[in-house]
């Protein structure tokens, strides 16, 4: 090969790759509104994005998989722990993570900004991004959930337990979160009725409880989950 042909190899290689890349960039701009539901991209969402950046959330947490790897991914956080779960952690990180091996800084975020952050994270959760991350995918039960279902025999209460975010703090058979106690034998300590009260208002059963009241559950869901947990002995 001569130096001249090497130059042409460089030139053609660069230009062809750049043409493909810029062409697809143009096409991405045509499609992104639909994929990200830009019609729901309100000023409140943008305000939430600004707050997300202002408090540097992204250097501990990933979002869409990018950022710091020190804390959980936030792409589907609204689906995972619910708006109340997000609010509680932002308002009182020192309580929410009191027993956790890693802490989150208390940044004294005003309530209005917390509201914007929840709106922003909810909007991000709706982005059609190839069903990532896998742990929050709705298309398939994780192995942990499959094992849970098999072990506990399918019951409506088990379904509530899996889908309403209980497992973000609590675990069963080693699958789930570690903020709250494992619930494998909870039925030995609390009756079904106590559990139901606990879920409605934790402080009514245990004044020192750190768990937030689960206001999003319907009466029926609360009954079923209490029945399910009360039988774990």
């Amino acid at each position: 090969m001569t130096k001249k042909s090497a130059f042409w190899l460089f030139f053609i290689g660069t230009v062809s790759s750049a043409v493909i890349f810029l062409g697809l960039t143009w096409d991405m701009h045509r499609q992104v509104a639909a994929l990200s539901h830009a019609d729901k991209l309100s000023d409140k969402v943008v305000a939430g994005k600004r707050a997300f950046e202002h408090y540097n959330c992204n250097d501990c947490h990933t979002i869409l998989g990018f950022g710091g790897y020190y804390a959980p991914d936030l792409t589907r956080v609204e689906q995972r722990i619910g708006a109340e779960g997000i609010r509680y952690r932002l308002l009182h990180p020192e309580l929410a993570f009191a027993n956790a091996p890693r802490k989150m800084p208390q940044q004294h975020i005003p309530e209005g900004e917390i509201d914007n952050l929840v709106t922003f994270l909810t909007w991000v959760g709706g982005i059609e991004n190839g069903d990532w991350p896998p742990q929050d995918s709705k298309n398939r039960l994780t192995r942990g959930e499959q094992r849970l279902v098999a072990g506990a025999a399918v019951s409506p209460g088990a379904a509530v337990f899996q889908t309403k975010g209980c497992m973000n703090c609590h675990s069963l058979n080693g699958a789930g979160g570690t903020f709250g106690p494992a619930l494998d034998t909870i039925g030995r300590n609390l009756t079904m009725e106590q559990i139901e009260h606990y879920v409605r208002d934790p402080k009514s059963v245990n004044p020192k409880a750190m768990m937030p009241p689960q206001k999003e559950l319907s009466d029926r869901e609360r009954e079923e989950v209490a029945k399910f947990l009360g039988n774990l002995k």
Partner: protein, 444 residues
């Protein structure tokens, strides 16, 4: 040293080395956050996020200062004339270092743009741009006045202009998170797998040519082939970051195919380096410099090429994306491709700038082997943690912190290795700041 104005490079190198030490210290603190439970009061005052912003920005700053110093060293020798304005080179150094110091103090006080790796807030961005423009103008004027164009100069200048232009993509505020990440990667990916590779290719070609005495025509021909392949695979290869951000699905194909080819130019670089050393025309005065050059090429291939390839295919990346696997790859690739490149340049230029033609390589060897083996092992232990995370959290669906508890052991081992790496860095930096001439055989 042939030109007086080359001396400015020494200041760039010295500051770069001090920032490198700071960067690694910050890295040790980050690892401690994984290993120990940091109390709430300390987390409130100095959160992980702030330390991470410092760790990554120090990396970018010291490497860019290293590249710029390297350029100021190389350009006079390539063009055959002094830097157009040494004063501007000074001014540029002051502007960039001042920006860096203000940015770091700002991070500590909570002043940040909040975009990972690009945390420097907008008013300071323009200072960075000003510094870059002074640099490009100065280097451009030197080349223009000399009118002795070489391919190495052209690639170097092209890479630096490309680098500066891409930085602009990271400055605006984007309303849509998807678009924001799309252009974030124009800075991050197209820097490290585009513009920085051009600069690296040019600097490597210059040093190898000088070290081995291989004919310029041969070196420059292969430089074209290398950068041609880097650009061809690297530009469209940006797509491997667009798999899960809400961009169209064709990126899975484009990103997968182009980035699978990305190791090829790095492999070519290794082969070229080895060939030049084998066909050297002159005796190599400082064997340690070419150990470094070869080490850089090989580590570049392992860290960027092999580790990058390992999780670039969408089917694998679905599970490893945004896990400690990424951390493993990031550390090995940056160390192999860019930290070692800078250290090679420093060892090539710094002793010479102090009038030492043949330097004593003892400390340098200890430093290099300590850093390289510690980083290789860190790549492996971060990688084990990452594979555990991918399997436990993403495949089995375990909660985030539960999965992290199984990784704790490996993060602890990594911290120990990090301390070893730090020792290697300190030895290397001391050796570079105070180089000793080699004792001639016979004790003359």
């Amino acid at each position: 040293m042939e030109y007086r104005s080359q001396r400015i490079a020494n200041w760039y190198f010295t500051i770069a080395l001090l920032l490198f030490v700071l960067q690694v210290m910050m890295g040790l603190w980050l690892l401690s956050n994984y290993v120990f439970t940091i109390p709430q009061w300390l987390v409130d005052r100095f959160p992980f996020a702030t330390a991470r912003a410092m760790h990554t920005n120090l990396l970018v700053l010291w490497m860019l200062l290293g590249f710029m110093g390297g350029t100021y060293y190389i350009v006079p020798e390539e063009t055959g004339r002094d830097i157009w304005s040494p004063r501007l080179a000074w001014l540029q150094l002051v502007v960039l270092v001042a920006t860096g110091v203000i940015a770091l103090a700002g991070f500590a006080a909570g002043w940040t743009k909040g975009r990972p790796l690009l945390e420097i807030p907008p008013p300071l961005n323009y200072l960075v741009v000003a510094g870059a423009l002074i640099f490009l103008f100065n280097v451009g004027m030197t080349m223009f006045k000399a009118r002795r164009w070489t391919v190495i100069q052209g690639v170097l200048l092209g890479g630096l202009v490309f680098l500066a232009l891409l930085y602009l993509a990271g400055i605006p505020f984007y309303r849509n998170e998807v678009i924001d990440w799309y252009y974030w990667w124009w800075v991050i990916h197209l820097w490290v797998e585009g513009a920085w590779e051009l600069v690296t290719g040019a600097i490597m070609a210059f040093i190898l040519m000088r070290l081995t005495g291989v004919d310029r025509q041969v070196v420059e021909k292969w430089l074209y082939v290398e950068i041609g392949l880097f650009m061809f695979t690297g530009i469209a290869g940006t797509g491997h970051h667009y798999y899960w951000i809400g961009a169209p699905t064709y990126w899975l194909w484009v990103g997968g195919i182009f980035s699978a080819l990305e190791p090829i130019p790095i492999l070519l670089m290794v082969i070229d380096t080895m060939t030049y050393v084998r066909h050297r025309q002159v005796q190599i005065a400082n064997p340690h410099t070419w150990t470094l050059a070869l080490g850089c090429a090989v580590f570049h291939l392992i860290g960027a090429g092999v580790w990058g390839f390992a999780h670039t295919l969408p089917q694998i990346n679905y599970y490893t994306h945004g896990s400690q696997v990424t951390v493993s790859h990031g550390h090995m690739a940056f160390f192999g491709a860019y930290a070692l490149l800078n250290i090679t340049v420093f060892y090539f230029a710094m002793p010479r700038l102090k009038g030492i033609e043949v330097y004593k390589p003892t400390l340098g060897k200890i430093g290099f082997w300590t850093m390289s083996s510690a980083m290789m092992l860190m790549g492996i232990t971060f990688g084990i943690a990452g594979v555990l995370q991918s399997y436990l959290e993403r495949v089995l669906g375990m909660g985030y912190m539960t999965a992290q508890s199984y990784m704790h052991l490996w993060m602890t081992v990594t911290l120990v290795l990090g301390v070893c790496f730090f020792a290697g860095v300190v030895i290397t930096v001391i050796d570079l700041l105070f180089p000793k001439p080699a004792v001639k055989p016979g004790g003359a």
